[in-house]
């Protein structure tokens, strides 16, 4: 049978004030951590919008906007604007295909071809001279849905040039 002592003031109660003081301090530290988490979330560190959640890069003249931080089971979009007047061809590495479920590609590729180095996609574009003022095509949008949490490294290739991108999937 556990023993609870009677205190000097007559209460039979087990109060550990030292522990409680430590806990109150931890509690206040935790509130600061909560505030930090909110700040990080606003910055995009937890995904779903925010400056940190998206990355921008250039590859063979194409402008790529890709998700850097995603959430498990939640689709994010990658957009690619090809340089105008060039063949719009894209290769997605096997790592990308196994880490993400490709939910849709808009516009639909005119040709898709499977190879050991991944999935090759080609898109129909207008001939260069009709788009005199624009430097890039309208974007191709890919919806990527992560299959599991953790870091993903994958390769994207356009016009023979490849680039490795990293993404982190939050649980």
């Amino acid at each position: 049978m556990e023993q609870i002592d009677i205190r000097e003031d007559g209460l039979q109660l087990d109060e550990d004030r030292r522990f409680q003081e430590v806990f109150w301090t931890i509690e206040r530290a935790a509130w600061i951590v909560f505030a930090l988490i909110i700040a990080l979330a606003l910055a995009g560190f937890t995904g779903a919008g925010g400056p940190l959640a998206k990355g921008e890069t250039q590859l063979a003249g194409a402008e790529i906007s890709y998700p850097r931080i995603l959430r498990w089971d939640t689709a994010e979009t990658m957009t690619i604007r090809f340089p105008a007047g060039h063949p719009a061809e894209l290769r997605l590495s096997p790592a990308l295909l196994s880490a993400f479920e490709l939910q849709n590609i808009v516009p639909a590729p005119s040709e898709s071809r499977l190879a050991p180095d991944g999935l090759h996609l080609s898109f129909d574009t207008e001939p260069g001279d009709t788009a005199e003022t624009a430097t890039h095509t309208a974007p191709v949008t890919l919806a990527l849905r992560p299959e599991s949490a953790g870091a993903v490294r994958y390769e994207l290739a356009i016009g023979g040039q490849a680039q490795t991108l990293t993404a982190f999937v939050m649980p």
Binding site: L11, E15, D16, Q20, A30, F34, D73
Partner: protein
């Protein structure tokens, strides 16, 4: 496997957040606290189930949550330190009529709340009629009146 991970994850996250937000947070609920609790429940539900609405998933999840809760209570029984860590302990706010201002401030209990508890539980009118006020682990305030009330 996913069901267990989701269930255990939510259990631990909720345990940590609720414990660290302070015991005053969800006890002595106001109407707004109650609504907040409902919103927390609704938010959790999505993360728990994901897109899997099968009977198997919900059965595995319920078993996971209940088992974790049983495990937690066994752990508390085995080690009193764990009980204190997970549930907290009582804090004496008024001892023999003496207010412990530091404890009240740190525990975020106002004098008004102590007096409210005194009125509610004991029908006391003034501070000097309170001999002991104790903030219990579950967040309620127990009041022991000063005068001997023998029938």
């Amino acid at each position: 496997m996913e069901s267990f991970i989701r269930g255990a994850g939510i259990y631990i996250v909720l345990l940590i957040i609720l414990r660290l937000s302070g015991r005053r947070a969800l006890s002595e609920m106001t109407a707004f606290d109650f609504v907040l609790l409902l919103i927390v429940a609704e938010t959790t539900q999505q993360a728990l189930l994901g897109e899997d609405f099968s009977l198997t998933n919900s059965a595995v999840l319920i078993i996971t949550l209940v088992t974790l809760d049983i495990g937690m209570s066994l752990l508390k029984d085995a080690a009193p330190g764990m009980q204190r860590l997970l549930d907290g302990g009582p804090t004496v706010l008024i001892s023999n009529g003496q207010l412990d201002h530091r404890a009240m401030r740190r525990a975020r209990v106002s004098l008004g709340e102590v007096l409210e508890a005194a009125r509610e539980a004991q029908g006391l009118e003034r501070l000097e009629q309170i001999r002991f006020a104790i903030l219990e682990a579950r967040g309620t305030i127990s009041i022991i009146p000063a005068e001997e009330q023998k029938g």
